[in-house]
């Protein structure tokens, strides 16, 4: 019976909308689940690669979740990791080739990190935790939601790193235009280095937890 009822779940029911909105804040893959940190450090020195990375992950995770969800009943549990990896690898290669063809410069900046989407913990995590046990449509929403949550943090971190580290936003030299360098300002070289991305992610976690207090661990 309950399966029948679920069948009639409207496409954008509250539950389905939650699948997208929860990862944006209180179930965020980076700040709450602390997954996918490596790429958050590597590709966020500038806005452009961060946004491209976010879009790639949205594509891979959304499509991957659908594929796995469709296959979920035919995958033998013992070999599921191999099947999952094959699906991710296929999608990542598609993205990589697409970027090489249509956005060559960004593709060069991202270099190995597009290929390394395969090892992004968020993707395997969602396959294992969600799409192996849910229908394609909710799986798609879950995938897009988590990838958006990941992308959101990436873009926030990249915004501050590019603004403070290179004095520009999306390659446009904002700080030079408003004449900040004339009064003795200098770009912060530490912002370009990966440790600063970690500290920025830390600040985001701090801000988030002081706003959403139930996220604070008690021990």
């Amino acid at each position: 019976m309950s399966a029948e009822l679920k069948e009639k779940d409207p496409m954008f029911s509250l539950k389905n909308r939650r699948l997208v909105s929860a990862p944006l804040n209180r179930d965020n893959p980076i700040t709450v689940q602390v997954l996918g940190i490596c790429s958050a450090l590597a590709v966020t020195a500038k806005m452009e690669p961060a946004v491209v990375m976010a879009l790639s992950v949205i594509f891979v995770l959304g499509m991957g979740n659908v594929v796995i969800s469709l296959l979920r009943k035919t995958i033998a549990p013992r070999i599921r990791i191999i099947v999952q990896l094959t699906v991710i690898a296929t999608l990542v290669i598609l993205v990589d080739e697409f970027l090489k063809a249509y956005a060559y410069n960004v593709s060069k900046q991202l270099s190995v990190f597009v290929g390394l989407i395969i090892t992004n913990c968020i993707i395997m995590g969602r396959f294992e935790a969600f799409s192996m046990a849910n229908k394609p449509w909710p799986s798609f929403l879950d995938g897009v939601g988590n990838a958006l949550g990941y992308g959101l943090i990436l873009v926030i971190v990249a915004f501050f790193r590019e603004l403070l580290g290179s004095g520009s936003i999306w390659g446009y030299p904002v700080l030079e235009k408003i004449g900040l360098y004339h009064i003795g300002y200098e770009n912060n070289g530490m912002m370009i280095l990966p440790p600063m991305a970690l500290i920025l992610v830390g600040i985001i976690i701090w801000v988030q937890r002081s706003r959403v207090r139930e996220l604070i661990e008690k021990n």
Partner: protein, 395 residues
């Protein structure tokens, strides 16, 4: 004095629980404790109360920092006038350095204390005296020409991310003053290294390189005489130049028992050992510098006396302190000679070992536990054997 006490007593109820400014009570407490000795006593349990509390400890460190600070002021002026080819007297040099130094000290204290008070207020903690030392150390390890906004930014970064995120004074992993310097070193390398920043208003024709800078580019012959480096008539960060002044400070710290002699000694030994190893290997001119000369170059002495001995971030166990100090000296000289990107290795060596101090302590304690357990087991076996013999004798 009595008037002040009375004024404080009059407004005190406002800051007590239920008073009008209850929220500001930690700020009030801080000022009261700063002006008068706090009158708090414990009522329950037995506590050993030592007269050397945090405030006293910190005051001693600040006193011990006075010799390098005063000499640093004079040297800033002296180097400036020397570079510009002017003959000046003692007071003129000192006055110039004092004016150069004062804004840096004020900026460092105001930024740091504002953040400390803010955090104490938000958390309902008491403001403690930890920043009195950090706020003075930060100016001492800056180049004299550093822009003030950078001092403010670095201080804010160090206090928030070096200290407050870990829970405030006593909980920090990294030395906050060195965190401030490391932040500037990586964020604004142009203002923190090279040969332009060590002399105020340096004319272009004058070489302002520090001895370490000269050594790094294999111009060992340009290194000033050991006597100059020991007395401090060289360009460098404000507080680090005079080893004599630092030695006086070290005496004060050791005499008052604030700093650990084990750490200071082992840092020096570590540096000497690495220096001697380099002397034996002797691949280039830099490696041929006598090992003892490394001790009076750059910030080695300053770091060994004021930074490595920070009781919060150093190793706590006595054996651990030897290991901790030795590795600081060892790594500092290693980084100095080998890595062209970091002419001075002391800052990174100390920060690195700060991170490892808890690990060293852990293993020292574990080793002690294992040793005592073995002793106890041996004693038990012996006792069992004795009992066995007795029983046999009875049969």
């Amino acid at each position: 004095m009595k008037g002040l006490r009375r004024a404080l007593d009059r407004i005190k109820p406002n800051f007590a629980k239920g008073g009008r400014f209850e929220k500001l009570h930690s700020t009030f407490d801080a000022f009261e404790a700063f002006l008068f000795v706090p009158d708090k006593v414990t009522f329950t349990g037995s506590h050993i109360r030592d007269a050397v509390d945090l405030k006293r400890t910190m005051s001693f460190v600040v006193i011990a920092m006075m010799p390098p600070l005063l000499f640093g002021m004079w040297n800033v002026g002296s180097q400036h006038f020397l570079a510009n080819g002017m003959e000046t007297g003692l007071w003129q040099n000192f006055w110039f350095g004092f004016l150069q130094m004062l804004p840096i000290v004020i900026v460092s204290y105001v930024t740091g204390l504002a953040i400390e008070f803010g955090f104490a207020q938000a958390r309902g903690h008491e403001v403690n005296e930890g920043f009195l030392v950090t706020g003075m150390l930060i100016p001492l390890i800056m180049p004299p020409d550093v822009p003030l906004w950078m001092v403010a930014l670095a201080t804010a970064f160090a206090v928030v991310f070096g200290k407050e995120v870990f829970g405030g004074t006593g909980m920090n992993i990294l030395n906050p003053a060195l965190t401030a310097r490391a932040f500037l070193f990586f964020a604004y390398p142009g203002e923190m290294s090279g040969d332009k920043v060590w002399i105020v208003d340096k004319p272009d024709a004058f070489s302002g390189a520090t001895p370490l800078g000269d050594a790094m580019i294999a111009e060992v012959s340009k290194i000033p005489s050991p006597m100059d480096m020991f007395l401090g008539f060289i360009p460098g960060s404000i507080g680090e130049t005079s080893k004599l002044a630092i030695l006086i400070g070290a005496m004060i710290l050791l005499f008052t028992g604030v700093a650990s002699w084990r750490i200071m000694l082992s840092v020096v030994v570590g540096g000497l050992v690495m220096g001697l190893i380099f002397n034996l290997v002797a691949l280039n001119d830099y490696m041929l510098i006598p090992a003892w000369e490394h001790l009076i170059m750059g910030g080695f002495a300053f770091g060994a006396v004021y930074m490595a001995t920070d009781p919060v971030t150093a190793a706590q166990t006595l054996k651990g302190q030897y290991i901790y100090g030795f590795l600081i000296g060892f790594l500092a000289i290693l980084a100095r000679v080998f890595n062209p990107a970091y002419p001075e290795g002391m800052m990174l060596a100390i920060l690195f070992m700060n991170v490892f101090a808890p690990l060293i302590d852990h293993y020292v304690i574990q080793a002690n536990i294992i040793k005592r357990r073995k002793r106890w087991e041996r004693a038990r076996v012996k006792a069992d054997l004795n009992n066995g013999f007795k029983e046999e004798a009875h049969v």
